[in-house]
């Protein structure tokens, strides 16, 4: 199991997870909480943008992150020949 290719797969996978978590963090803790007041000067679908992120947008971003992760992680599995198909 300590094959070098497995190590390389895990490093690449960790990078993918980190970039997905960055989006997750930005949409919720960023847009909806810390940057909320700054964003509220803009509007999103008629709602002040910070408030919109907190009550709608963060959830849509989470969904997009999971869709992307499902696709990208499977592609990574195939590239390193560790997929479960």
């Amino acid at each position: 199991m300590t094959q070098p290719s497995h190590r390389a797969y895990w490093r690449a996978h960790l990078k993918l997870i980190a970039s997905c978590l960055a989006l997750w963090f930005l949409a919720s803790f960023g847009g909806g909480i810390v940057l909320r007041d700054a964003l509220d000067q803009f509007r999103m679908l008629g709602v002040p943008a910070g408030f919109w992120f907190a009550q709608q947008g963060a959830i849509w971003v989470f969904l997009a992150v999971l869709a992307y992760y499902g696709w990208a992680s499977h592609r990574l599995d195939q590239r390193f020949d560790v997929d479960d198909d």
């Binding site: 008629g46 992150v65 479960d84």
Partner: protein, 588 residues
């Protein structure tokens, strides 16, 4: 047909459906009973997870909470959905690869320690029981309000239905009834929401009605709402009372707590492969998002509706407030339940509903001759009363009743299953009676499920005073105890039993201690529960986030100072990280 008869018909039809599914999906092995044989399609599992997750609290209480909290209600929306990102990225696929039956199974095997397994069982039982009591309570409320049966009888009916499919079918029966329950509850939630969005804004989609301009006016729903509530002395809807740090911490605690909840995690043990676990998490969140993006619109529209009903005229006009004698029928029905109360403080026979704790508004209220807020509205009634407030047809009201019951039953069943498997699998088979055969374990699992249902029903009928408080804190406790132990077990090869146990105990005790100090369960609170007394202004609801950080720090420090885990354990961890080769979830 009368509303009563229609409600019986709709609720009865939903029960018949659940029982029919239960009869077709009997469990014949422990694999069926614990993880539905491991062959559930990722989309079906996503739907079942959504029903499992969305409890009576999500269905009945959340939109109402948001309606009265405004921006501060965002913590629930982000916290209870963002947890699925953590679950999908950090836990579910690896725990699926591990391929055993329960969460304590993982903790016990990964840390090669029965002490760690027992700590995990304790956390699991504590978290799950507080939850399940809340669900049975929700079933009771819906029964007593819509079917006008006694609370106790309502509970017995609910228990009998859950008993039937959870005990017979185990995870297999629960999974397919949850799929049906999701369909019932999401229809019941979205149909009235669409009607109300159309009525108020002319836009059918609640997610868009949220920011729509009101017909015949130049302002949007939220601008109008802000104006209406501030005129009445309430805090502006789009502003929060919590500090930014507190909102941050509460959201973090709810997210990590969600990812650490055993009844949600085990749902991902039922899919065939690791990649299915990732896909299934996407579907689960998609099905949950339908309700969670509708809820803030329902909250805002319901709040606006409520104020416009109660204050149809100008504030300065004494006849501007609704006359109590002319109150609509829905107010009378909800007054009967005690969840809506009117007290005519200034004796003018009219309902003055305003923010009487706002010192800046006192002079104005005095000038109007108002002598205090006269109406108390329990947030729980908003979703249930919404169709009546909006004057929707009777079949929509009947549907809401069936939806509320579906939400409560599906969550209760999922929780009962993890409780019974913790008893029959983790305590009996893995700890006390390793010689148990598969058939004996299955029988023990059914007995444990039956026992758990009886206890949950009892707790639902006689809720100990602290249940309602504790439910909200279960997330903080899960975030501070189970979540770091699971995460480190996968992402750190070096983490050992000493580190994990020290971390779990530190997180649990710190969080529990802080909550007890301010909330005073079993004793008088040590400090007043106000922001000036809180640590850095973090409320007891958000302290789980700090407990989680402490858990990580203590676990990493202790494990660095003690010997690393065995080569065998490290090989197990490395194998978790490779998707290939996940068999069906199995016994040992």
């Amino acid at each position: 047909m009368s509303l009563q008869a229609l409600t019986y018909l709709v609720v009865g039809a939903s029960f018949a459906l659940y029982i029919a599914i239960a009869l077709r999906t009997r469990a014949s092995s422990t694999g069926d009973f614990y993880v539905a044989g491991g062959g559930v399609h990722p989309i079906a599992n996503g739907m079942a997870t959504a029903a499992d997750w969305m409890s009576a609290a999500s269905f009945i209480s959340m939109a109402g909470l948001i309606a009265f909290l405004g921006y501060d209600g965002s913590v629930y929306l982000m916290g209870w959905t963002g947890g699925y990102v953590l679950l999908a990225l950090l836990l579910a696929p690896y725990l699926r690869k591990f391929g055993k039956f329960t969460v304590p199974d993982f903790i016990g095997d990964r840390y090669d320690s029965s002490a760690a397994r027992l700590v995990a069982v304790l956390c699991l039982i504590f978290v799950s029981f507080t939850y399940v009591a809340g669900q049975m309570r929700g079933v009771g409320i819906v029964f007593s309000r819509f079917l006008e049966v006694d609370l106790g009888l309502g509970l017995v009916i609910g228990m009998a239905i859950v008993f039937f499919y959870a005990v017979l079918g185990g995870m297999k029966g629960i999974t397919y009834t949850q799929v049906a329950q999701y369909c019932v509850l999401i229809t019941a939630y979205t149909v009235p929401a669409v009607f109300i969005a159309l009525q108020v804004t002319g836009v059918p989609l609640p997610q868009l009605a949220f920011g729509a301009t009101l017909p015949g006016e130049t302002v949007t729903v939220l601008e109008k709402l802000d104006a209406v509530v501030t005129d009445l002395g309430f805090r502006a809807y789009t502003e929060g009372a919590k500090s930014t740090l507190d909102v941050f911490c509460v959201t973090a605690a709810l997210m990590a707590g969600t990812a650490g909840l055993p009844h949600v995690i085990v749902r991902f043990f039922t899919v065939p492969r690791v990649s299915d676990a990732r896909r299934s998490a996407f579907w689960a969140l998609a099905f949950i998002a339908v309700l969670y993006t509708t809820a803030p619109a329902v909250g805002a529209l319901a709040r606006l509706n409520l104020h416009e009903t109660l204050q149809p005229g100008p504030l300065a006009d004494p006849a501007g407030s609704l006359s109590y004698a002319e109150r609509p029928a829905w107010m009378k029905t909800w007054e009967a339940t005690g969840l809506l109360r009117f007290e005519d403080k200034n004796g003018d026979g009219r309902i003055q509903y305003y923010g009487d704790r706002n010192p800046a508004f006192t002079a104005q209220a005095d000038a109007y001759g108002w002598q205090g807020n006269e109406l108390t509205v329990d947030p729980d009634i908003l979703v249930l009363a919404n169709p009546e407030i909006a004057g929707l047809p009777d079949w929509v009201i009947a549907l809401i009743a069936a939806g509320g019951i579906a939400a409560a039953l599906s969550t209760a069943a999922g929780l009962l299953l993890v409780i019974s498997s913790a008893v029959s699998h983790d305590l009996l088979r893995r700890t006390w009676m390793p010689k148990l055969t598969d058939r004996q374990e299955l029988r023990a699992g059914r007995l444990a499920a039956a026992g758990a249902i009886l206890l949950a029903g009892y707790l639902g009928y006689n809720p100990p005073g602290f249940v309602a408080q504790v439910v909200a804190f279960a997330f903080g406790l899960a975030a501070a105890s189970l979540f770091p132990a699971l995460l480190l077990g996968i992402f750190s090869l070096r983490m050992n039993a000493a580190g994990a146990i020290a971390g779990m105990l530190t997180g649990l005790l710190f969080t529990l201690g802080y909550i007890l100090a301010f909330k005073g369960v079993f004793m008088a609170p040590l400090f007043p529960n106000t922001a000036d007394h809180w640590l850095l202004g973090i409320s007891p609801e958000g302290i789980g986030a700090v407990g989680m950080v402490l858990n990580f720090v203590v676990a990493l420090t202790v494990s660095a100072l003690t010997p690393p885990p065995s080569a065998e354990t490290q090989a197990l961890v490395e194998s978790l990280r490779i998707p290939r080769g996940a068999g069906h979830a199995q016994d040992h």
